[in-house]
Amino acid sequence: MEVFSDFQCPACKSLYDATNRQLMDNYVNTGKVYLIHRDFPLPMHSHSREAAQYSRAAAQVGKLEAVEDVLFQNQEKWEASGDVDGTVAKVLTPTEMTKVRALVKSGAVDASIAKDQALGNNTYRVNQTPTTVFHANGQTFPYAGVMSWDILKQFLDQLLGGK
């Protein structure tokens, strides 16, 4: 599964809150599903690119999950204030934060975000977030929008050949 997501998108937050944790626990950590997060900051969200930069940088210091969680849980606050840096700093040590800030400032993470956007635009024709692209049995199925855990579980079970 590739999930094209925007940290400032309310629907992406809904997907993260309602589905992501259970998906990770029941399918990703058990090896049934390989999950890839793709950053797809939308132009109408003024701080989402910055949030994507911080999360990419956090991934390089091994703290992607923590930063992803704090960004989604505090979405309304940093959306209004623009304080992505302060939000991320809550879950990182000072040393980690220094590294993250350096990575963001140097632009080292921009290429990977651009690559995700190009993949979404050119290959999958992503025009909204979240968009989840399922790859199974040699086929590709993009789905736009939020999925509840119950619906996703049923779908994954059937896709994986379960009951």
Binding site: A11, Y143, A144, G145, M147, S148, Q154
Partner: protein, 171 residues
Amino acid sequence: MWLGRLILGPIFIYAGYSKALLPNSHFWPWFFFKFSLSMNIANFALQVDAFKLLPPWGVQFVAHTLPFTEIVLGFLVLVGWQLRIFGTMLAAIMVGFSVVVTRAYLLHMNINCGCFATPQPINMEKVLEDAGMAILAVLMAAFAIIEARKPHPWSAPSASGAVAATAPATK
């Protein structure tokens, strides 16, 4: 009346279709169709919820019924069957849409209209568009009701001037 039927009927059919079957439209095998439909309805529920008007059960009720109601009403209005009934229902829904969208605009809500599958911001253009369709729908329903009260054009007038169906005169 004709104008209302020809404009509003197809619009409602497409609106319902796009809510239920777009943007996710994988129809085979069967569980893909179920998943597509569920996701599209879930997306529409989020859009309904964004208006902050209904409780959660109301949001789910609207999300699960409105798309199909629109398709059926659109079809019935297009073919013109029982237009005073179904045209009135369509007009009532259209007036409701117009009021809700206008409210969202006045409250400066930066949300998606939820009218069709493609995101549409709520701006003055949308407000005027919906108001125009609401007026057309009301006029269509009004004319349908007036028309229904008129005698059938094949009826002959009676001696008193009242119009009634007459049997052929026997010799």
